[in-house]
């Protein structure tokens, strides 16, 4: 029982000590940018591959430039994630406070 009590106290201590970087707003912003960045890098890479060197067709080739078109879809998806992150009400609220 006493051991359990100690853990409880330990948690409270952390609550007080928690620095602003750990706040959910910052995490969710960072997660949004992180994901948007990676999807955009992949999308742009695939578009470039599709434009510069239309790859050797795969076995089940359907006759269209997969890298170019799906790369574009990914660029759009990356922009949507980025836009939503930038426009999020949390970010605006955080800005007003700051």
């Amino acid at each position: 029982m006493s051991e359990e009590h100690q853990t409880e106290e330990h948690h409270e201590y952390l609550e007080e000590e928690r620095v602003p970087e750990h706040s959910g707003t910052n995490h969710s912003m960072a997660i949004g940018f992180y994901i948007a960045a990676l999807i955009l890098i992949y999308g742009v890479t695939m578009v470039l591959v599709g434009l510069i060197s239309p790859a050797a067709p795969s076995e089940g080739d359907l006759g269209f430039n997969v890298n170019l078109w799906w790369g574009l879809v990914m660029v759009v998806a990356g922009c949507v994630v980025l836009g939503m992150t930038l426009a999020s009400p949390r970010r605006r609220a955080a800005r007003r406070q700051g």
Partner: protein, 531 residues
């Protein structure tokens, strides 16, 4: 064997992923000091993040490769694991369990068992859990190795060793301090990787009608129609699908797997916490399609290449190699690797935690300083990865990895679910009642499996159901003849002795029951469509 024309572009794409994952891990590790911080992130995340992370934590080798393999072996019935085998339990967790977990002191399974039952129950469960994690981690490692084998053309052994090295690097370089980041990312990667596979495949085979025609087995396209008898691919009647899978296996997994439940507890408030499993349930429905169809498409276009059981495991990566050119292929395989790596890292970390804090500390060396336990944990990580190499080979001996995991769930999770359920809802349950019930149910699952060695999915459903019944019966019987715990020891652990707050949510479309009814209605519609 399917081979691919690998190129530096594919390696570049995979390389970028590792740079990102290790980079964010290194950045976050500096800021995050405690494990509490990175698992719960200060309980401050919005529900869309915890919801996608909840699903990301669930999407491992089993949910992608295993389901694809199952679909290639059993057809559309495999979708039961996504629909009836997940959605009702996810709704139940959201509506009833999350408020309870939020209000009680329950943060881990062994912790709950020690407080609610006794030390013996906790010890027994900890040992089982450690073994379970190593077995699951082997499956993720095996799946990862299959992808490397396909991509690099190495032998399975070399691919397994490479996977082991990568996971070890990922865990030691702080990959887990960014687990929520990577789980949300994983959701996007897998979706963007599987959607084109299903679209291209369906265009190629001529839609659902073309797929039916080329596979030529009408039973492969019925989820329920043939379950009045055992004359269906699962060889099981509807009763075991509903109660074995839909009740015991599924509720057991979603209610007690804290690798997943923890994600919901990281949400900013109780309402967001309750919404987490429900937000995850919608994409989960979609994944029933995204994981099942690549398996069916692979069966249709690659037929003989995935006819043997071992090759069925490869259905999804083979389908990718078949449809995706260089570039797209690198991306698709990266999405798979991401899922398997974080799945395995999660298993290894859970193993290291349970070994260090639930076995080593209480039973072997009680009074050492924190640094000592940290070292023990690090050694456990290395040992865990080495043991997983052995269990990766074990995964090879089963029909598919899907069959293997279901055998394990029947033994490990079904009895535990019985113990949890009684402990939480019946205050008369005693410490020794819980212990003997758990031991009896687990032994039942293990012994009946070893006698029959039947790893069919239907057999696993039935075994799980009976293991659960054995646990319930023995726990109730022993509880009635042993001394119950006084109420004050059960406060915060038993329903009715735990004060729960009502979640406040103004927006109607965010109310848990609205989301739950919607997702259940879609589930029913899908089951009717694929009747």
């Amino acid at each position: 064997m399917v081979t691919v024309n690998e190129s530096w572009i594919d390696y570049f794409i995979i390389g970028v992923y590792f740079v990102f994952v290790l980079g964010i891990g290194a950045v976050l590790r500096k800021k995050i000091q405690t494990s509490e911080d990175y698992f719960l992130s200060g309980r401050s995340l919005p529900s869309w993040i915890t919801g996608l992370a909840f699903l990301g934590a669930n999407l491992g080798a089993l949910e992608i490769m295993g389901m694809g393999a199952g679909a290639a072996t059993y057809g559309i019935m495999q979708a039961h694991y996504y629909w009836i085998g997940a959605i009702p339990a996810m709704c139940f967790v959201a509506l009833f369990m999350i408020p309870f977990y939020y209000a009680s002191r329950v943060h881990s399974v062994p912790g709950f068992l020690r407080l609610r039952y006794n030390e013996a129950t906790r010890g027994f469960n900890s040992i089982l859990f450690a073994i379970f994690m190593i077995l699951l981690s082997g499956i993720n490692m095996f799946a990862m190795a299959l992808v490397f084998q396909l991509l690099l053309g190495w032998s399975l052994t070399a691919s397994i060793l490479l996977s082991a090295a990568i996971v070890l690097a990922y865990v030691t370089l702080g990959g887990l301090s960014s687990s929520i980041y990577n789980e949300v990312l994983q959701f996007f990667l897998i979706t963007l990787g599987l959607v084109p596979l299903v679209i291209f495949g369906l265009i190629d085979v001529g839609g659902l009608a073309g797929l039916k025609e080329s596979i030529g087995d009408p039973q492969f396209f019925h989820a329920w129609a043939n379950t009045g008898s055992t004359d269906n691919p699962f060889e099981v009647q509807w009763f075991y699908i509903v109660f074995g899978l839909g009740l015991v296996q599924s509720f057991g997994y979603w209610c007690t797997d804290f690798l997943v439940v923890q994600r919901a507890l990281a949400a900013e408030d109780l309402a967001a916490s309750q919404r987490t499993p429900l937000i995850a349930a919608f994409p989960k429905l979609l994944y029933g399609v995204l994981a099942i169809f690549p398996g069916l498409i692979a069966l249709s276009v690659l037929g003989p290449k995935i006819a043997t059981a071992a090759e069925a495991n490869n259905a999804v990566p083979y389908a990718m190699a078949y449809y995706f050119p260089t570039g797209m292929l690198g991306f698709g395989l990266t999405a798979l690797l991401a899922a398997f790596m974080s799945g395995m890292a999660g298993n290894i970390t859970a193993f290291n935690t349970v070994w260090t804090y639930d076995l080593y500390k209480p039973y072997i060396n009680r009074d050492a300083d924190d640094r000592h336990y940290l070292t023990v944990g690090r050694i456990a990580t290395v040992v865990g990865v080495l043991l997983s190499i052995a269990t990766a080979y074990l995964a090879l001996s089963f029909t598919t990895i899907m069959n293997y995991v279901q055998v394990l769930h029947g033994m490990f999770l079904a009895p535990l679910f019985g113990t949890f359920l009684l402990g939480m809802f019946w205050r008369r349950t005693t410490g020794w009642g819980g212990f003997t019930g758990l031991v009896a149910g687990t032994s039942y699952g293990l012994i009946t499996y070893l006698i029959s060695l039947d790893d069919g999915l239907g057999a696993s459903m039935a075994r799980a159901f009976f293991a659960w019944l054995v646990t319930l019966t023995v726990t109730i019987a022993v509880s009635l003849v042993t001394q119950p715990k006084p109420d004050n020891e059960l406060r915060g652990l038993v329903w009715g002795l735990t004060e729960q707050k009502e979640a406040r949510e103004e927006a109607w479309y965010k109310k848990p029951w609205v989301l739950a009814v919607t997702v259940l209605a879609i589930t029913v519609a899908l089951n009717i469509y694929f009747w």
